[in-house]
Amino acid sequence: MLLSLSSTNRIYGTYAIFAVLVILILTRLFLICSGDLLNCSALMERGEKETLTGKYCPICNKYRQNIAVKIRSILPSPHSELLLGTTLGINDLKTIPRFNDVLVSTGTIHVVVVSGYNISLVFNHVSNLLKKANSKTRLFITQIIAVIYALMSGFEPPVLRALLMVSVIFWVRFLGRNVNITAVLLLTGLVMLAFNPLYLFDLSFQLSFMATLGLVLFSDLFETYLSSYLGENVVVSDFCASLSAQILVTPLISHAFGRISLLSALVNSIVLWLIPLITSIGMLAVIGILIHKLVGKIFVLVLLPFSLLFVNILEFVDKIFSITLPLQISKDTLIMYYMLVGVIAWYSGRKPRNKETE
C-alpha cells in the first residue's frame, strides 16, 4: 500500500503507517523499560549476546562454526578474520587487537562485518545467475537464498535491516512500482523496532541505519557536485559514499568509542574498491570449502592478494599518519545533532530519490 498508492493519498498512507509504528514502538518501549529510558539502555547491555541465528537456528550456527574452522585451517591471520567477518559476520577481531586498532583508527572497522552490502551482493549475484529463469521464480529463489545467507551470517540487526530493505526494493521493483528509498529505510527501521524496541540502543543497528540514511540523503548531492570538478570515476564515487555515511555515523562513533578518524572518508575511498572483490571471492571460498578443502583453497589463493593489499594499505596509512582525534561527544549533543538531521531527512523525504544506494 505504501508504495502502490499515488500522490497525496500515498503520502498520508505512509505517514499513517509510520505513526502507528511509532506509537507501537513507544508503547512497547515504555512497557519493557518500565518508563525509564536509562533502564532500557541497561537492559540492552545485559541482554543476550547470542545471535538470532544461534537462538532460532542452531543448525545454521553449527554450520557457520564448521565453516569458520575450515577457513581458519587454510588462511592465516588477519586474513581469516577479515574473510569470516565480511562473509559470515563472525567477529574474531578481538583476537587480532593490533589490526583491530588499525581498522578503528582508519575508520574502516565497518568493512569487517556483514552488512546490507552483502545482502544486496547475494541478491544481485543470485539474480544474475538465474537470468534464464522466469522473473517470479528468479525472485522467489533469490529471496530464499538471501534469507538462508542472512541466517548463516548471524542475523544481526544490520543484516536483518538490509534483508528487509533489499527484499522490499526487489519485490516492489518486480511489481513494476517506483521505490522511495528513504521511506523504505524508515519503514524497515520502524518495523525492526516494533519487533524489538531494544534495537534502538544497539550500536550495530544505529550504525547500520545511520550509514544507510547518510548514503540516501547525501551521496547524490556530493557526487553531482564533485563530479563536475573531478569527473565521474570510482574513487570520487567511493569518496562521496564514504563521506555521506560518515556524516551520520561519526557522531555515534565519537560517542561510543571516544575517538574519531579524521581521514576516514579518504582512506575508505582508497580501499573501498577492494571490498566487493574480497566479499565476492570470500563467498566463493566459503561455498568452495563446503565442497572440498582444495576448492576452497583455490579461491583463497585468488582472494589473498586483495586481502594483503587491503591489510598493507591500512597498516601503511596507520603507520604514516596519526589520524585519530580523541573526542567524545555527549548524549545531549548527539540527540540535537540527529534532530537536525531528522529535519533534513524530512525535507529530503519530500523529494523521492531514485538512486538505490545499496
Binding site: P76, S77, P78, D92, T95, R98, L308
Partner: protein, 270 residues
Amino acid sequence: MTIVVFICLDLVVLVMNIGEKKRMEIIVTDIGQGDGILIYNEDGELLLVDGGPTNEFVGMGFLQLPSFECGVSRILLTHPHTDHLFGLNRAMELCQTSLVYYNDIQAFVSGNFSRFKGLARLYNEQKLTQGDKISFGSFTIYILWPSPEYLATIKESTVNEASIAMLLDYRDFEMLFTGDINSDTQKRLKLSDYSYVIDDAVDVYKVPHHGSEHSFDEDFLAWLRPKAAVISVGENSYGHPSEKFINYFKKESVRLFRTDLDGDVRIKIR
C-alpha cells in the same frame, strides 16, 4: 590475456608476502605482552615456543612455498597461561604439526588450555621434564626445568614456576629460555651440570617473565654472564620490564633487546 596477467600478479603478490625461507634463525616476535618465539633449523623446519596472547602471531610468514601449506614442524608450550598459549591454538588450527611438547598441569583449568589439549591430541604429544633432550636439526635442546617431582606439586598459583626452561645449543652458540619462572626457580635449573655445553658464557638470555622483578637474580646472572638479553614485553600494568634488569644489563654492558621497543628480535646463527 587478462586472466593470465591477473594470475601472474596474484602469484607475485603472494610470493612477495610469503618471503624467503628462513634457516638457522631464532625470532623473538613482537607479540605484545606475552611470549612467541620461532626457531628455524638448517632445513627451514620451524619450532614454535609459545604463541603469544593473540592470533596475530600466526601470520603470512607461516605459509611456505610452493604448496602454501603451513610449515610448523613442532610446537612447545612452556606453561598454559594465555599470554603464552593463545596463538598456539590458532597455529594448530592452521598447521599440520608433527609433535606438540607440553606438560599437562591438572591444577590449571582454562577454556584456552582445554582447547589446546584437544587440538594437541590430534598430533603426537610429549611431556618434557628436567634431563630430557630434544634434537631439532643441528640444534640440541636440553630441558632444565621442571622436575617431575615439582610438576606433581604444582598449584594454580604457581603455574609460572612450572614453565619449561631450556638451553638451546648449536656448536658454540647457546641460548637460555626461561618461560615465566622466578628467581628461586632459576636457582634450581642445575645449569652447572651443563658446563660442558656452555663453552664460556651463555650467548643470549631470554629474560624470564617479561622482565618481572621477581625473576631478577644478580648471582644467577653473574654466573650466566650473557652476551645479549632479550625481553619479550608489551604494554602492561605490571611494571614490566623491571628497572633492576635494565640497570644490571647496562652496568654489565650486556646488549639488551626489547620487543616493545625493537620489534621482532632476530638472531641469525652462522
